[in-house]
């Protein structure tokens, strides 16, 4: 399949043109103020490089950090109507309780807590109070609210009440954006509600950005369907992203790790993305990043998104190397994007890790003579510390003692040339600089089920089989080719204090995207 992967980051917009397994062209362009222009520039460049015509492109996959940045910077956020369906439970903690003030001034405090919701095992805890819901919807309509976040008690176990609520709100409020919590989050009502509100406040922006993507492709005469990659490295349709932009929040690191997996041909490996200032280390398991199991703060708000488990360390190609009386320190301060002016080998006066790599003789750039004065002892100590830092990070991210391959991507990978303990071999693939755009271009379609189920009643094998079936059905409904679907992950957490061997079961599958025809 002829396709283009694009990564729209805060600084750079990267593109990679792929045909099947072949990388035909790739490029890095500055991200423009107007999102479309950056995309147009990047795609035009790879088309020109490869001589492929727009008509030959069958699919475009876009990864973007735009929504994350907008939320963190509090830009273009809407007032949100917040409806929690939970009474008589979960009323002790109102929505937005520990949100930072500066977001509340952007999104308001329009909160409604009404009766309804399920028990942990799917039984109804109390039926949906439709009259109260209708009142809330009228109230929100009168306030001129354009986006609504609906969160139901244990909706992760059963989403029906949230769907019914959507229907009723739609009848009253008409064409407003509606975000449902069971589509964005996991067990844990506060974190899930937070994610749903975050999603809702981005409704206008997501509409604009998806349109900007559409317009860019129209201007380029590319009529192929386009998809946007989500946190777990799988694809969403443009229409779905318009509804659920929050699902792209962590797609950046995911795409870079998925790209690394693809470029190296490895499915189970460690990945270190060594940039100018930091190194992000993650673990690939079956070709996908391992997900974090803890809550994550984004822009000061607690969430439990499906996020890749990434360890960020203060080691990069621009990290400062400082000599103290008794020791040497490396990072976390860095010359960052000013590496080409400030480091010794490029004529500056700051000793960086890149200078050390050149002085040690295993990297070759800039003016070598400018680091000849460094003592062998200093060089050896710095090289050993750089490797020790990476070793520590690798060790912390591994889940077993078995040695695994380590894939290095990012410009800072020149810092590494020694063996790392616990690592079987180090791989630096070609095109590593645009790993994220490549990661976007190879994304698959996933289905995921997260339920609490009684193993004693259903039986473990039976429970897993059922969940797997549901996950596969979900993937197919989102556009996966049935035959290509593989099981990615099964997570089982026994619930303390719950009866009948109740287990929280998560099953995730993914398959290749089915492209029927070019869009009209």
């Amino acid at each position: 399949m002829m396709r283009i992967g694009v990564d729209v980051g805060g600084t750079n917009t990267d593109a990679a043109l792929m045909n099947g397994d072949q990388i035909l062209a790739s490029c890095k362009q500055a991200t423009s103020q107007n999102v479309s222009d950056g995309i147009i520039n990047a795609i035009t460049t790879v088309l020109d490089q490869s001589g492929i015509t727009p008509a030959q492109i069958q699919c475009v996959m876009i990864g973007t950090t735009h929504f994350t940045n907008a939320f963190v910077e509090r830009k273009n956020l809407l007032d949100v109507g917040i409806i929690r369906i939970c009474l008589p439970a979960a009323q002790g903690i109102p929505p937005l309780l520990d949100w930072p003030e500066d977001i509340l001034t952007e999104i308001g405090s329009h909160r409604y807590i009404i009766r309804g919701g399920y028990q942990f095992d799917g039984r109804i805890n109390s039926p949906l109070d439709e009259a109260a819901l209708i009142n809330a919807a009228h109230d929100l309509k009168n306030k001129g609210i354009k986006t609504v976040a609906i969160t139901g008690l244990f909706s992760t176990i059963n989403g029906k009440m949230e769907l019914r609520a959507e229907e009723l709100v739609r009848q009253i409020m008409g064409d407003v954006a509606i975000s449902l919590s069971h589509q964005v989050g996991r067990s844990g009502i506060l974190e899930r509600e937070n994610a749903t509100i975050m999603n809702a406040c981005l409704a206008d922006l997501s509409h604009d950005v998806v349109n900007a993507f559409r317009n860019a492709l129209d201007q380029l005469d590319i009529n192929a369907p386009f998809f946007i990659s989500q946190n777990d490295g799988t694809l969403m349709s443009a229409e779905y992203v318009e509804k659920y932009p929050v699902l792209t929040f962590a797609s950046g690191p995911t795409n870079s790790m998925r790209g690394a997996a693809y470029l190296s041909g490895l499915k189970d490996a460690l990945v270190a993305d060594i940039g100018g200032t930091t190194t992000d280390i993650g673990m690939l398991s079956n070709g996908f990043p391992r997900e974090s199991s803890v809550t994550v703060d984004i822009g000061g708000v607690r969430t439990n998104f499906r996020m890749p488990d990434v360890l960020a360390m203060g080691l990069g190609g621009g990290s400062l190397v400082k000599q103290h009386s008794d020791k040497l320190t490396i990072g976390p301060q860095s010359v960052g994007y000013q590496l080409l002016e400030k480091s010794l080998v490029f004529g500056g006066d700051t000793l960086t890790t890149s200078d050390i790599a050149v002085a040690a003789g295993y990297a070759d750039f800039g003016d070598k003579s400018r680091v000849e004065h460094l003592s062998e002892q200093l060089i050896e100590q710095a090289v050993s510390q750089i490797h020790q830092t990476l070793s520590d990070g690798v060790d912390r991210m591994k889940t077993s003692a078995t040695a695994l391959p380590l894939i290095l991507v990012g410009g800072g990978s020149v810092l590494i040339n020694r063996d790392i303990p616990g690592v079987s071999n180090i791989i630096i693939p070609e095109h590593a600089g645009v790993a994220n755009a490549i990661g976007a271009s190879i994304a698959q379609v996933a289905g995921e089920i997260d339920i609490v189920i009684s193993y004693d009643k259903v039986g473990r094998d039976n429970a897993i089989a059922q969940a797997k079936e549901q996950a596969i059905a979900q993937a197919i409904s989102l556009g996966a080719i049935k035959e290509s679907i593989v099981l990615l992950d099964i997570g089982e957490t026994p619930l303390a204090y719950a009866p009948d061997g109740a287990v929280r079961l998560r099953v995730k599958v993914a398959g290749d995207l089915y492209i029927t025809a070019n869009k009209a």
Partner: protein, 361 residues
């Protein structure tokens, strides 16, 4: 002592530390307390000696599955009702409330309850840590009856039970709580002021706050674990404390049996000495053994903290590769008596080892 909403984050962190891996996520409790204080005001915190001997003091706690708790929280009315029912049954209005355990979420729920009821909260609890079962409290050890006890849910269903023993109350409440949706509010061990003075572990709310503050201060100064240990040494109970291990998790086994999360966690020393430490847990960390030799054992506290930040790590969050410092901390003297050990010593958790105080290990 006086508390502010801003202090609650530190109380929660201290409560997580004293929870020794269990006791439920204090975050939810902190949010419940914050919300109640915003609505009803900060409750007065009093010292045990300020109580009259014949004062009526009720405990208040949440009981159930942490996963359910993180979805349902508490409604507030269920908390009010639990107190009202016990007051009706006893025929005595509460003069004050007291936490039953300072570890985990139940350090915070009483703050919520006291705020809602406009009652003073006693700066003390029934164990100075967290334990998984209702009978594992000093009040039970020294002859205070666990019942009458009230149990409520968010639908405002309620029950008052009377049993011959605290263990029997535990069994009944456990079954009831499942039918009530796996998360209930309970008021048990109705106390007199004299009993609080004699049998409670005093000052633990202050200590939870100060543990949190010591960790926070340590992070600013660069040595969080050292700051924590230095603080503990100044306290009346937790003063026998040491970092018994500095290592990385190299193996982790969990299983759930009869509603409890049990398991073992193996750490390897980071200094390259090849030493290993095995920590056994049942909801809470119970025993730490270095190459087969006991280094700390329940009811003394076995606490695991992140070696860089001193953040307390709950059992649920343990994972391979984590770098932790393991601390052994002395329990309050009243928790280490012969009578106490019979109720929550090592044998109560099925361990074969005898209790030996951390200072003698």
């Amino acid at each position: 002592m006086k508390l502010s909403i801003a202090d609650l984050a530190n109380v929660a962190r201290g409560a997580a530390f004293l929870g020794t891996g269990g006791g439920g996520d204090p975050y939810i409790g902190r949010m419940l307390a914050t919300s109640a204080i915003q609505e009803f005001g900060m409750p007065q915190i009093i010292e045990p000696h300020e109580l009259d001997d014949d004062a009526t003091v009720y405990t208040i706690a949440m009981l159930g599955a942490p996963t359910v708790l993180s979805e349902k929280g508490a409604s507030g009315e269920d908390v009010d009702l639990a107190i009202k029912r016990i007051e009706q049954y006893m025929g005595k209005k509460a003069d004050a409330l007291i936490p039953i355990e300072i570890g985990g979420v139940n350090s915070m729920l009483p703050i919520m309850a006291a705020a809602r009821q406009n009652l003073p909260l006693v700066n003390a609890d029934g164990m100075g840590r967290a334990f998984p079962e209702i009978q594992m409290v000093t009040f039970n050890v020294y002859g205070v009856s666990c019942t009458p006890a009230s149990i409520t849910d968010e639908h405002l269903n309620s029950m008052v039970i009377e049993t011959g023993s605290a263990k029997r109350a535990e069994d009944l409440v456990r079954v009831t709580s499942i039918e009530m949706g796996c998360s209930v509010i309970m008021s048990s061990y109705p106390l007199t002021g004299k009993q609080v003075k004699d049998y409670a572990v005093h000052g633990t709310l202050t200590m939870a706050l100060e543990i949190g503050q010591a960790i926070e201060r340590g992070r600013k100064e660069g040595e969080p674990v050292e700051s924590l240990v230095n603080y503990l040494r100044t306290t009346p109970y937790y003063n026998q404390c040491k970092v018994i291990f500095d290592g990385k998790i190299t193996d982790l086994r969990r299983e759930t049996s009869e509603g409890f999360t049990q398991g073992h966690c193996l750490l390897s020393a980071l200094d390259g000495s090849g030493k290993t430490l095995e920590v056994t847990f049942q909801n809470e960390f119970l025993i730490a053994k270095e190459d087969g030799v006991v280094r700390a054992i329940v009811p003394d506290l076995v606490c695991m903290v992140d070696r860089e930040t001193a953040e307390p790590i709950p059992v649920d969050a343990l994972k391979y590769g984590q770098r932790l410092k393991v601390l052994g901390v002395s329990a309050a003297p009243i928790m280490r008596t012969k009578e106490s050990l019979a109720v929550f010593g090592p044998q109560a958790f099925g361990l074969d080892e005898e209790f030996v105080a951390i200072e003698d290990l």
